[in-house]
């Protein structure tokens, strides 16, 4: 697996992403500066990391979505290449038009940093094929703008096409308002595009890939990618 991790001014989860891919999974992982015009030759996965790209100016991810490297990420995605966006990476993919919807300020107005449970809604994707249907994993969130929103018709379409991959839930997989940390529509934590090759999620699977980090549930996603 060859991984490219685009880095923008203000990215701060790039090293977590590279640690998970390179040191834990043993994949050939390359950082790619946002001013680059092309991804490394033979890239299999683009991992758009979290952070505060461009200081969240204008809207989270809006300026990063215009960075030179994103033109090639869009080309890569259009050819079926795998793209994973986590946290600010998810916001960037939405702003770039690679995923539907937008991430609003958390309903509580607060930055929330805690572990949450996620129910896996799709297991027939390159990102989730190692999961059992409905499997619950525990992964941390760390964001102020993770409140997923989409217009009513778009939301119906997204649900109908199986675009929701992860939903916030309780320890037993129960979806209820008390388990929705940020007010996201339908408790949506992660979505995939219609083609199934672009995944965006607010929680951080790359932060729980070895016991020293306090959990290993993120490995399910990375092992899925390994095939």
């Amino acid at each position: 697996m060859r991984v490219a991790v685009p880095i923008f001014p203000g990215s701060n989860c790039d090293h977590d992403a590279m640690h998970a891919c390179c040191n834990v999974m043993g994949w050939d992982t390359k950082p790619v500066w946002h001013q680059e015009k092309a991804l490394p030759e033979g890239t299999d996965l683009v991992f758009v990391p979290g952070g505060f790209s461009y200081g969240d100016y204008l809207r989270c991810g809006a300026i990063a979505a215009l960075a030179p490297i994103m033109t090639d990420v869009k080309r890569f995605a259009a050819q079926g290449g795998l793209v994973l966006g986590v946290c600010n990476g998810f916001q960037i993919l939405c702003e770039a038009g690679l995923l539907p919807g937008a991430l609003l300020r958390n309903e509580s107005l607060r930055f929330i940093h805690k572990k949450v449970h996620l129910r896996t809604e799709r297991t027939n994707l390159p990102f989730t094929r190692a999961f059992k249907p409905g499997q619950v994993i525990e992964v941390p969130i760390a964001h102020a703008e993770g409140n997923f929103t989409l217009d009513d018709d778009g939301l119906v379409e997204l649900e109908a096409q199986g675009g929701v991959v992860f939903r916030y839930c309780g320890p037993e997989g129960e979806v209820a308002p008390e388990f929705n940390p940020n007010g996201a529509e339908n408790a949506i934590a992660g979505i995939v595009n219609a083609r199934g090759n672009v995944l965006g999620m607010m929680p951080h699977p790359e932060r729980v890939v070895e016991p020293a980090q306090g959990g290993t549930d993120g490995l399910w996603l990375f092992r899925s990618l390994e095939g």
Binding site: R59, A62, L104, R105, S108, L109, T149, L150, D151
Partner: protein, 78 residues
């Protein structure tokens, strides 16, 4: 020409900032409702007429200034 773009959240989109400010105003005894917070962007564009200036600002809204999923804009030529 100077153009002002007023960006606000669409009706129906939750505005937690507006809610918090509304709550704060209630604390001062103001009987205020439906507080919404937006963003004002002033631009200077090389246009020769009002319609041209508006069209340029609209194009900028479509490309970058507004996220149509959650926001709408009002364009004023100053």
């Amino acid at each position: 020409m100077k153009v002002r773009v007023l960006v606000s959240l669409k009706p129906g989109i939750l505005d937690p900032q507006g809610k918090a400010v509304e709550h704060g105003l209630h604390g001062f005894g103001f009987a205020v409702e439906h507080v919404r917070i937006g963003r004002m962007i002033d631009l200077e564009v090389p246009a020769s007429g009002i319609e041209e200036a508006k069209a340029q600002a609209q194009a900028m809204c479509d490309k970058l200034l507004v996220n149509p999923v959650m926001e709408k804009a009002i364009i004023e030529v100053l």
